[in-house]
Amino acid sequence: MTVRAGADLSVALGRLHLPLPTIMGSGCYGSGEEYASFIDLENIGAVVLKSVTRMPRLGNPTPRLVQTPSGLLNAIGLQNPGVEWYLEHEVGKFSERPCAIIGSVAGFSVDDYAYVTQRLAARDEIDAIEINISCPNVASDGETFACDPKLTSRVVTLVRDLTDKTLIVKLSPNVTDIAGIAREAEAAGADALAVINTVRGMAIDVDVWQPRLGNRTGGLSGPAIRPIAVLAVYEVACAVKIPIIGQGGIETTTDALEFFLAGASAISIGTANFTDPRVPLQIAHGLERYLLGRKLNALRDIVGKANHGFSGPHQYEGDQG
C-alpha cells in the first residue's frame, strides 16, 4: 500500500491495493489514453475500462447524449469491438498505464458474463474485474440483472469462481431495494460494490415530438443524481461489509467527502471529467488537505463516519475509533 506524502489515501478493494481512491468510471474515460495528455495518469487510482461484451456491438442509434439540468443523459448502447478483438488489439497497451486497470464486463446472459470475465481476467494487464449488471437479460424478457436479486446472485456466483482477482459488482439505482441486491452480491462473493450506475431517464424534443435519444431512454449521470447516489451508498453501507466505490455526480472534494462519510471506501469520477480533466487530481489534493486540516492520517478513518448504521468494510474494523 503506497503511502502518499501527507495523508494516506490508499484503499484496498479485495486484493487490489490502490494508492489513491479515485477511480475513473467505466465508459467515461476510454482506456485512459484519451486523457493522458491532460492529466498524469499516475495521479489517479484506476481506470475502469469501457464495458466489453462477448460480441462486437455497433451501439445505439444517434443522438446518444442530451444535457439536462445539472445532468447528462447518455445512451451509448455498449458500443465496443467485442472481447476477442479487444484482447488481441487493445489489452496489450494497458501495461503502459501507470495506474491500475479494471476491466468492465457486460452481457445479456449469465454465460456472456462468465465468458468475457474469464477471457479478460486471464490477462495480466487487467488488475480487477467490474461486472456491469445493468444490462437486460435477453433470456428472461429483457429484465435487467441488477434489478433481480436472484439473477444478481447467479451471475456473481458464477464469475466469482472464474477469477481470484478483485471482483467488483456495479449496482443499478433503478430498483426498489438496492441494499437487498447488494447483500446478494456480497453473499455471492463480490469483493467490492460500485454504487451507483446511471439513473434511467428520458428527454423529449417538443419540436419534433420524439424522444431526444436515438435509444429513447438513457442513463442520467452528473450532479443531478448525487443525492440519490449518496443515499444509495449510505443504505448499501448499512447492509454489507465489503468496500463500496461511491459514484454519481462527484465533481469536487466536498462531493467526494459526502460519499466517504456515507460509507464509500473509494470513489469513481465519470461525468466530471467532461467538465475538467483535472478534477481527479484536484479531488486527491483536496482530500489530502481535508485530512491534514483535521489531523487525520488516513482517508479510511472517515469512511462511514456520517452513517449511523455503518457496518462495513470489514478490513477497516480495527480502525473504527
Binding site: 465508459g27 467515461c28 474515460y29 476510454g30 484519451e34 486523457y35 495528455s37 491532460f38 469501457k50 460480441m55 462486437p56 456491438r57 455497433l58 451501439g59 444517434t62 443522438p63 446518444r64 447524449l65 442530451v66 444535457q67 445539472s70 447528462l72 447518455n74 451509448i76 458500443q79 469491438p81 467485442g82 478483438w85 488489439h89 450532479p223 465533481e251 469536487t252 461525468t271 471529467n273 467532461f274 467538465t275 475538467d276 480533466p277 483535472r278
Partner: protein, 277 residues
C-alpha cells in the same frame, strides 16, 4: 482529416481582447502560444467552464497566430453566457487543440468555403491556409440577418471573395447560403463547410450535384470531447479512412455498411460523401 496525433493539453490563457461583434456574438482573444503552435485549420478546443459547473464547451479555433488564438461564439445558453462574462486579463482554461481538421494537403486551387451562422468560427484558419499556398477562396457566408454576418472583412483581408446571404434578405442574397452556392458558375475544386446540420445536408447535396467533393465540419453534443465516451458519433461508410478499424456488428449480428465514427475524435471534419446520416 489526416489522423493527427493529438498534441493537446490544458492551457491557462489570459484573455487579451474581447469584442462583441453583434448582439450576443462574442470574439475572445486569448494568449496561448503553445496552443497556436500545434493548431491546424478545423481544430477545436474545449473551454473549461470558469465556474466549474456543467460540461466543457466545444468551440472552433477561430484565429491562431503567434501568441494569440481566438474563439468566436454565439451566446445561446448558460455555458456561452458564462464565457461572454469574461473580461480582458481574466483567465480562460482551454483543452486543445482537438479533433482532425480540414484536409488541404492536395492544395486545391479553387476552394469554396460555406459558413452558416456561427460556423464562420471554424473556417478562417482554412481560408488563411489556402491563401498561404496561393489558392483562391470563394466564401459563401449566410446568417439569419445582416447584423449576424460578423467579421466578414477579416476574410476579405485574406483575399476571400465574399458571397453573402441572409435568411431575411437584409444583406446580400435573400435566402439560404447553399442556394447561393448552387447558383455559382465557377465550379470549385473543393468545398469546405461548417454550420448548422440542415445547412451541411444542403451543402452536401449541392456538392454532389456539382460533382465536387466536400468536407463538412459537424456539430454534435459532446460529453468528453476527447474520444473517450462514444457519445458524439455519426454514421459513416465502413470504407472511409475515418471509420474506426475495429469490428462493429448490429444487434442482430449483421455487418452493416455504415459504422459509427466519433465527431470529436475522427472528426469533426468528414468527407460529405462518406457520411451515412
Amino acid at each position: 482529416m489526416p489522423p493527427d496525433q493529438s498534441q493537446a493539453s490544458v492551457h491557462r490563457a489570459a484573455i487579451t481582447d474581447r469584442t462583441e461583434l453583434a448582439k450576443g456574438v462574442i470574439l475572445l482573444g486569448i494568449h496561448a502560444p503553445e496552443l497556436v503552435r500545434v493548431t491546424k485549420p478545423g481544430h477545436f478546443l474545449l473551454a473549461i467552464p470558469p465556474s466549474g459547473e456543467r460540461c466543457a464547451t466545444a468551440l472552433g479555433i477561430y484565429e491562431a497566430q503567434a501568441e494569440r488564438a481566438s474563439i468566436l461564439f454565439f451566446v445561446c445558453g448558460s455555458r456561452t453566457r458564462e464565457l461572454a462574462d469574461l473580461a480582458v486579463s481574466e483567465y480562460l482554461e482551454v483543452a486543445g487543440p482537438l479533433g482532425n481538421g480540414f484536409d488541404l494537403s492536395g492544395q486545391p486551387k479553387n476552394v469554396a468555403i460555406v459558413a452558416g451562422g456561427v460556423g464562420i468560427a471554424s473556417v478562417l484558419l482554412p481560408a488563411q491556409r489556402v491563401a498561404e499556398y496561393g489558392g483562391r477562396v470563394q466564401l459563401y457566408y449566410g446568417a439569419r440577418t445582416q447584423a449576424l454576418l460578423v467579421d466578414a472583412e477579416k476574410f476579405e483581408r485574406y483575399g476571400c471573395v465574399l458571397n453573402l446571404a441572409t435568411d431575411d434578405g437584409s444583406s446580400g442574397f435573400d435566402g439560404y447560403v447553399t442556394e447561393l452556392l448552387a447558383q455559382t458558375e465557377e465550379v470549385p475544386d473543393l468545398i469546405l463547410a461548417c454550420g448548422p446540420t440542415p445547412m451541411l445536408h444542403a451543402a452536401a447535396k449541392v456538392a454532389s450535384r456539382m460533382r465536387v467533393r466536400a468536407q463538412l465540419s459537424l456539430e454534435e453534443t459532446f460529453a468528453c470531447g476527447v474520444g473517450a465516451c462514444w457519445g458524439c458519433v455519426v454514421p459513416i461508410s465502413r470504407a472511409s479512412a475515418q471509420a474506426p478499424r475495429f469490428p462493429m456488428l448490429s444487434t442482430d449480428g449483421s455487418r452493416s455498411d455504415s459504422v459509427y465514427a466519433r465527431v470529436c475524435k475522427e472528426g469533426p471534419v468528414f468527407w460529405a460523401d462518406e457520411l451515412r446520416w
